[in-house]
């Protein structure tokens, strides 16, 4: 069963929510820059302060 997870691209720093299937090792690709250096974040990314 897949679940939603937070991901961060270590190339372009893009953070996004994507599908994640525990125990399934899948090729990850950043939807913004196409890089494979995508890291699953164990917690939601911190909110950026406005202004």
């Amino acid at each position: 069963m897949s679940e939603s997870a937070y991901f961060k691209c270590l190339r372009c720093a893009h953070e996004y929510v994507g599908e994640y299937t525990p125990k399934a090792v899948e090729e990850k690709t950043c939807p913004k820059c196409g890089s494979n250096s995508v890291r699953r974040l164990k917690s939601p990314p911190a909110e950026k302060a406005a202004g």
């Binding site: 270590l10 190339r11 720093a13 090792v25 899948e26 090729e27 990850k28 820059c33 890089s35 494979n36 250096s37 890291r39 699953r40």
Partner: protein, 614 residues
């Protein structure tokens, strides 16, 4: 099939299943379960007395359900051996005997209700996999009304109806009124070339199969009107374009555009297809008596088990992957295993026969040689440092390492004939007790040291797998693509060989940026070794972060041999990243990692290589 059954040196095991495969090239042990027929196949003369008296009638799968068979039956006319089989799922019951008419009718007493499955082992040198494919089930494409409208059939069902040995003896009729239709529409690419439903690939055979079917229809019924709705007609291959042209010459109408909807007239059961002809831009409705859906081909669902037994990797389409698409198209990555037919990809009869001949020839080369030449690049387990953790056994994509048994004092052992030299075991070993011949740890450390000996801040250390990423770099070079000159490639046979220690060593020596690059998952030369690379890199990112080192400085990229453009682009992007790494950051990293991180490991590996050299 008959020739194979009669051949003195071929043992044909029908109605049998492979339950397990162990061993390696030249020494495979195959466990087989031969399912019982409940009939003595040597004594049975196929006289059909049993079938005549059997009271059970069920749909005949071979005839696509257009006719019926009995519970005791011969699966299809050309079946080898030509012997009856008792379908126990539909038989009225044998324990206690509920009917027993077939046994009473059999003069030769061939029927034995107590017969059981046989289990036996075979020792073979090579294995050829020819598990075939299955047609796509178009039920989910509701707009075509398959199963809702009786006169919408698939191309497989058409084959049975038009076949002289079929349920209507080749007199083509439509299912609702058993009359010969006056018009038939063929819809191409049903389930094929669709990203959302069905499969994304072209199924290869459907276009020419439809062209052949239209010619058959015109030949049998010259007044019948055939219409073919298509995206493209792919008539490549010897004589295929001629067939296509002939089909048009005999009056078959080809309409470029797929129907969006099919409706049925409730009275006449005629079908109305609405489609846009993309050549004229006009939307028109066509009334026909029957519709044939040219369904695509999909991998067999039950081939997954045999794929796992033989440690084969699937392609993204679900078929099996060959060792090399151009140079070893019938070889599996597991040595001694070959492919024939649609197990590898959808293909027609001619290509299947060609591939089967090639597979047999490849197998014969091995068998006639009587010995196997293996790669010199294999892993070696240094038992004195092994702690029996068994990780190497789990990660080996080729099952080439025999399990350890601590109680019995048995260390894991590498079966060199099965090892392909990916090096994943060496990278994953928790005690660094595994080394790779020709790709020793010390060699990597020496390469990294040499790269970073001068101006380390200017360098990018890139570990690239031999088959894809490194070849992608070659592709970029031969294509004269520009990429930063300060990228230094370290070749590994597989990205699975890239030990976390190599990465840390590069950072310790002052590398601002490290790249680990390998094949796309579907291209991995070593089945699934690349998945271990990804997992290891993800762990290394976590570790770097805990140590206070930015994980961004370790990059991961999957680049195929054909992606020279991507290789050059990635290198340019990495150069941008490298420029953002400061001298202070690198100095801090070197300080963190100099505090005893795994130096003992490096010393042990170096010592081992020195001993080998001396």
């Amino acid at each position: 099939m008959m020739d194979v059954g009669r051949h003195p040196r071929i043992k044909l095991l029908t109605n049998s299943e492979v339950e397990n495969v162990t061993g390696f090239v030249g020494n495979f042990q195959v466990s087989v379960r031969k399912k019982t027929r409940y009939i003595d196949e040597d004594a049975c003369t196929a006289c059909s007395e049993c079938e005549v008296v059997c009271p059970v009638v069920v749909p005949d799968e071979y005839q696509e359900g257009f006719s019926s068979r009995k519970a005791i039956y011969i699966p299809f006319p050309q079946a080898v051996p030509s012997s009856y089989v008792l379908d126990m799922d539909n038989c009225l019951g044998t324990n206690p005997i509920a009917c027993g008419k077939c046994a009473d009718a059999c003069d030769k007493d061939c029927i034995d209700y107590d017969m059981e499955d046989e289990h036996f082992d075979l020792e073979v040198g090579t294995i050829t996999l020819a598990t075939g494919m299955q047609p796509y089930d178009p039920t989910e494409m509701d707009e075509y009304g398959y199963t809702r409208f009786e006169n919408v059939i698939t191309s497989m069902e058409f084959e049975r109806l038009i076949c002289a040995g079929g349920p209507v003896e080749g007199h083509f009729v439509r299912p609702t009124d058993r009359k010969t239709p006056k018009s038939v529409a063929f819809i191409q690419c049903v389930g094929s070339r669709s990203v959302n439903r069905g499969v994304p690939y072209c199924s290869n055979i459907c276009c020419m199969n439809t062209v052949k079917d239209t010619l058959l229809l015109q030949d049998h019924y010259p007044d019948l009107q055939s219409k073919v709705f298509y995206m493209d007609i792919r008539s490549f291959g010897k004589g295929f374009e001629d067939l296509y042209r002939r089909s048009k010459e005999v009056g078959v109408q080809y309409i470029r555009g797929l129907p969006g909807n099919i409706e049925e007239d409730p009275v006449t059961q005629n079908l109305y297809l609405t489609a846009e002809n993309t050549l004229t831009g006009k939307v028109t409705t066509h009334e026909v008596d029957m519709v044939v859906l040219a369904v695509g081909l999909v991998p067999r669902q039950d081939s997954e088990l045999i794929r796992q037994m033989l440690t084969l990797s699937p392609t993204s389409d679900g078929f099996v992957m060959e060792a090399h698409p151009k140079l070893k198209p019938v070889d599996a990555p597991t040595r001694g295993v070959y492919f024939a037919g649609c197990v590898e990809a959808p293909k027609d009869i001619k290509d299947s026969v060609t591939q089967a001949s090639a597979a047999v020839a490849r197998a014969n080369i091995l068998l006639n040689a009587g010995e196997v030449k293996i790669e010199a690049i294999t892993s070696v387990i240094h038992e004195e440092e092994c702690n029996y953790c068994g990780r190497c056994v789990r990660v080996c994509p080729f099952h080439a390492i025999t399990p350890a048994n601590k109680k019995a004092g048995l260390y894991p052992k590498v079966v060199e004939a099965a090892c392909s030299g990916c090096g994943t075991c060496a990278a994953e070993c928790t005690t660094d007790c595994i080394s790779m011949r020709h790709f020793e740890d010390a060699q990597y450390y020496a390469q990294v040291d040499a790269i970073l000996a001068e101006d380390p801040m200017e360098k990018i250390v890139a570990f690239a797998c031999n088959w894809c990423s490194y070849a992608g770099g070659d592709n970029a070079g031969t294509s004269r693509l520009q990429y930063p000159h300060n990228v230094r490639l370290v070749r590994t046979m597989c990205s699975g060989r890239v030990d976390e220690d190599f990465i840390m060593h590069a950072f310790r020596k002052g590398a601002p940026l490290v790249l680990v690059s390998g094949c796309h998952f579907s291209d991995c030369h070593y089945i699934d070794a690349v998945t271990w690379t990804q997992q290891r890199i993800e762990k290394t990112w976590d570790k770097l972060e805990k140590m206070g080192i930015r994980p961004e400085r370790l990059q991961l990229e999957w680049i195929s041999a054909a992606e020279g453009q991507k290789f050059a682009r990635v290198m340019r992007e990495l150069e941008e990243l490298r420029r953002r790494v400061t001298k202070e950051e690198v100095d801090n990293t070197m300080r963190i990692l100099s505090n005893g991180f795994k130096t003992a490991t490096k010393k042990a590996a170096t010592k081992r290589v020195a001993a080998v050299i001396s």
